[in-house]
């Protein structure tokens, strides 16, 4: 109790004397930046997913080939989630009035929906007055039918006409332009009819043998944390044949975009953690040096080692808790400001900030403080009391190897925790470790080189001797400075490049319509029509449907896949194609491209992601069942595919000379102008080639682009925090040796050095220090940028020479400026005062 009170008093005295400013600033910044990123990422991730869910009409879709048990909906309602049922089946649809001739019956995808459909997004109806369509209110009523524009065109039906569906007769009251469930509908061949769920029994279509898909849409409209527990519950309850899908499972491009968005935000948080750790380590070691005398006096006055330790630990504990709490408060304010700045995100309802980021930011602060402050504290308590008589006693080392390992362990832990991605964490930890090792080697080389260098002029000699004098401290300082500079470079230049490359991978002229189901004899005609409307040559790719039946001679058992996505992919028919050349949006990941080889001997090229999901590897022999004919070939290469390029891409590609004779259709992608014109064009194409489908993916693209833009802006804001962190590290690294510099300067002045000489010596030292750190930082930033874009984001990397220029020049300049500012004041004081104060 006495110790606690005394510790608090000592803390308040230190606070008042300004001894704690750097440490508190470092801690607050650490917690605030991690907290802001955490809060924001948490909320934005939620918002981004919600936006993506507009494409699905729900947050999650449960489907099965048999009716779903009532408990699924009941449990969701009990947990406060919204649900609505839906039912999908195929049926012939035709105009009911006998007098209408010619159009005949069309096979349609009938979707019967409950009253609350859709839970996310809206149904858009064709509106003569508005090319973008009008939002529908509700769903088709009893006795009503809403065909989509494709079906309406095929049936030549308009509002007021009557359709017969099974035994029922339904009246067309609206034409659907766009439905939220585009996500799962891209390759649905048949046009669609929307009806009321209650009309289904009367159609008499749900006979045994007619395949229907029963669905339950679930959404968390008023988030209270009930959604994830429900999903967990559902996961346990799902029986064979029942599937749970979200938008990520259904759309690879949305999935990839969301994942990249999360990675970008996570990366910003990581850099913040890294910088905070370094700043705290530097501030704590400065605290150690400045409190050696206090510790020695305490021991001299009779405090036991344990007492001294507990006095310091309590002070740090209180400091850590207070600074972390303040940091969390700053983070809350920061993320709110951020949300306000990003008006487009706040337009969609953002979930409230959660408690988890607060706890993790707080925990990070405390963990960082003790990871980096505990070793110096233990060292402090072990200061020999004899120091009060002999100032020249060696300083205690903060715990040696164990202390550094503790710190390194804490950083690795935090990074792994923040990244929640072993690969990203590995790259970051590897980058930091490599940088520190490089700093050590460079410092050592420097010492060797400086000894051999002809010594020119007292100022350079003295300045460089300073670096040489403490090899370990110098290399640590270079390492810390390099880390700070590297973070800044990563965040400015490399981040900019990454974002630009990301945006560029989604060009504004990306195709917005897929043309599907073109028969071989229609290829020339469709291609000509596409060229006339879009103004450019459009490629059509052959597509063959086939099911994967054997792997290495064994029948494929889809039950082996625990992951529902993998199982669904394996159960589905694959879209197969062939190609002689590797397309621009594909990159070879491993193996060998066909390069002129043909036939089944040349093998198969698989998309890497699906190969991983299905646990297929290079060299596996696969057998596809294509319209009853087995085709067997070896996997000879794996490809990476840029899904968000919105070009037609295939999971499986054969070499030429295998599939050409199989029944096939063609597909392509084209950019059409937005609005009525393209709607008119689509209907004329469909009338000319009734089997051809033109699918509008403009909505998906707009969503993906919106996500990219929002993340770009979010990262830019978070960057401000990390920038502050980087500057703080620079400041702390320079402050770490400031006292020694001041003392040296005072001694030199008593020896008659002029202020100009002193300044020159300091500048010499800082310039060397800064440019070396900058060189390392540029190398580190380039390497990290390369690894990140190549291994993590899978965006093409382009090296930027500006990094080197900015790194070396900027490093020398900022370090010199900051160092000169820090020591300038001291040059004015009489030397004796400095010696007395610091000696």
């Amino acid at each position: 109790m006495k110790t606690l009170r005394l510790a608090l008093r000592m803390l308040s005295r230190d606070w008042r004397a300004g001894e704690l400013t750097v440490l508190i600033a470092a801690m607050m910044l650490a917690v605030a930046s991690i907290g802001t990123v955490g809060f924001f990422a948490d909320r934005v991730k939620g918002a981004l997913s919600q936006q993506a869910n507009l494409l699905l009409g729900a947050d999650v879709l449960i489907s099965a080939d048999r009716p779903l048990p009532d408990t699924f909906a009941a449990e969701a309602s009990r947990r406060g989630l919204a649900t609505t049922p839906a039912l999908k089946f195929n049926s012939m649809v035709q105009r009911a009035s006998a007098d209408v001739a010619g159009s005949g019956a069309v096979l349609a995808d009938v979707k019967a929906v409950g009253d609350r459909y859709p839970l996310r997004g809206a149904i858009l109806l064709v509106d003569e007055a508005n090319a973008l369509g009008t939002r529908a209110r509700g769903v088709p009523g009893r006795g009503e039918a809403w065909p989509d524009s494709r079906l309406a065109a095929r049936l030549n039906a308009r509002t007021g006409d009557v359709l017969s569906v099974g035994d029922s007769v339904l009246k067309v009251t609206a034409i659907v332009q766009q439905e939220p469930e585009v996500a799962s509908g891209m390759l649905a061949i048949a046009p669609r009819l929307l009806i009321n769920l209650d009309d289904v029994p009367a159609t008499n279509l749900l006979q045994p043998g007619n395949r229907a898909t029963y669905r339950l849409l679930v959404a968390d409209l008023a988030p209270r944390g009930a959604f994830d527990p429900y999903l967990n519950w559902l996961q346990r309850e799902l029986k064979a044949g029942q599937r749970m899908e979200n938008v990520r499972d259904l759309r690879p491009e949305v999935r990839q975009t969301l994942e990249r968005a999360e990675q970008f935000l996570g990366l910003s948080a990581l850099v913040a953690v890294m910088l905070a750790a370094v700043a705290i380590a530097l501030a704590a070691s400065r605290y150690l040096r400045r409190h050696l005398d206090t510790a020695a006096m305490l021991r001299c006055f009779g405090a036991s080692r344990r007492r001294a330790l507990s006095l310091f630990v309590i002070q740090f504990g209180v400091l850590g808790l207070a600074a972390s709490a303040a940091g969390v408060a700053v983070a809350l304010a920061g993320q709110q400001l951020l949300v306000m700045l990003l008006s487009s995100i706040s337009a969609t309802d953002l979930p409230a900030p959660g408690i988890v980021p607060a706890i993790s930011a707080f925990g990070t602060g405390v963990l960082l403080l003790f990871g980096f402050a505990l070793p110096p504290l233990v060292a402090l308590s072990g200061v020999p009391p004899l120091r009060v008589l002999r100032r020249d006693l060696p300083r205690p080392r903060p715990g040696g190897v164990i202390a550094y390992l503790l710190g390194a362990g804490v950083i690795a832990l935090l990074i792994a925790w923040q990244a929640q991605d072993v690969k990203v964490a590995g790259i970051m930890v590897g980058g930091i470790a490599a940088l520190l090792v490089a700093a050590g080697i460079v410092a050592w080389l420097l010492i060797v080189a400086l000894k051999r260098l002809p010594q020119r002029g007292v100022t350079w000699r003295f300045g460089l001797a300073n670096l040489r004098r403490r090899p370990l401290a110098s290399s640590l300082q270079i390492g810390a400075l390099a880390l700070g500079l590297m973070a800044l470079l990563l965040l400015t230049v490399v981040r900019g490049d990454l974002m630009q490359n990301w945006r560029a991978s989604l060009p504004p002229d990306a195709p917005n319509h897929f043309i599907v189901n073109v028969l071989p004899d229609q290829v020339d005609g469709v291609r000509a029509a596409l060229k006339s409307i879009s103004g450019s040559e459009v490629s059509l790719y052959p597509m063959i449907r086939g099911r994967l039946v054997e792997v290495n001679g064994t029948r494929l058992d889809t039950a082996q896949y625990e992951d529902t996505r993998a199982r669904r992919l394996a159960e589905r028919e694959f879209n197969l194609s062939w190609a002689a050349e590797l397309s621009k949006t594909n990159r070879l990941a491993s193996g060998k491209w066909f390069d002129g080889a043909t036939g089944t001997d040349a093998g198969i090229s698989m998309e890497q992601g699906i190969a991983e999901s299905l646990r297929l590897k290079l060299g596996d022999t696969l057998t596809y069942d294509i319209a009853g004919t087995p085709v067997t070939a070896k996997v000879t290469s794996l490809r990476k595919v840029d899904w968000d390029s919105f070009r037609p891409n295939f999971f499986t590609l054969f070499a030429p000379g295998v599939l050409e004779t199989m029944p096939q259709t063609y597909l392509g992608a084209v950019r059409l102008p937005e609005g009525t014109q393209s709607a008119a064009w689509v209907s004329s194409l469909v009338q000319q080639y009734p089997n051809v489908l033109a699918i509008d993916v403009g909505e998906i693209m707009r969503q993906v682009q919106a996500i990219v833009e929002q993340v770009a802006r979010a990262v830019e804001f978070v960057f401000l925090f990390t920038l502050l962190g980087g500057l703080l590290v620079l400041q702390a690294a320079i402050a770490a040796t400031q006292d020694e510099r001041r003392f040296d300067a005072a001694i030199l002045r008593t020896l008659g050095a002029s202020r100009a000489q002193l300044t020159a010596a300091q500048v010499a030292e800082f310039v060397v220090l800064g440019s070396l750190a900058g060189l390392l930082a540029a190398a580190g930033a380039t390497a990290t940028g390369y690894f990140l874009s190549d291994r993590v984001f899978q965006i093409p990397f382009s090296a930027n020479p500006i990094v080197w220029l900015l790194g070396i020049g900027g490093g020398a300049l900022t370090v010199t400026l900051a160092g000169w500012l820090g020591t300038r004041g001291m040059m004015r004081l009489p030397p004796l005062a400095v010696i007395r104060q610091l000696g």
Binding site: D293, T294, A303, L389, R390
Partner: protein
Amino acid sequence: MPDCILRASRLTKIVTSGEAPLRILDDVGFDIDSGDTVAVVGASGSGKTTLLGLLAGLDRPSDGEVWLDGNALSGLDEDARAALRQRLLGFVFQSFQLLPALTALENVMLPLELAGAPDAAGNAREWLARVGLAKRTTHYPKQLSGGEQQRVAIARAFAGEPKLLMADEPTGNLDHSTGLEVVDLMFRLNREHGTTLLLVTHDGELAARCMRRLSLAAGRLVADERAAAQ
């Protein structure tokens, strides 16, 4: 016959620096009575400060023993020696050793607070008044002159009411007249409180004011003189 507060026996300190072991103290022994004033004198490098460190239990001898108020220091661990210092010793240093982040008052309070003494602030205030600094309690060390800083240090040393006050060149960093004032103060408090005073100094004038003078040369005790009481 007064008690023996401090006894040194065959104290030897050897440090190994460079190639040859260096004998800094060589077989030094003496007794100091309670209430005595003793000066340890000698040229620079004669081993004075080393001796002081050993006597205060701040360092361990290579050989020999120190008894502080009857306790053999070699039998005590670092923490037990610290506890003994807290109970018995006060220190005044050449470079004052005030903590720069603390005010004059807080510097004096610190050892009292460590010992858990009641009313540390009141006590410290009283001691500052006794050394003539009643008006400077809220000043920081860097706002005080050298003499004032040393007076704060003396107040700090006496505030714990130690039986034995050790001073290492207390006037070393002060000009002559300020040094005199500080010395006067120390001797006055010593008389008022019956504290034993052990000074390390090469200031002959200061040494002359002590009742006893121990002279060191090259690590050996070369003279032990008693002056006539003042």
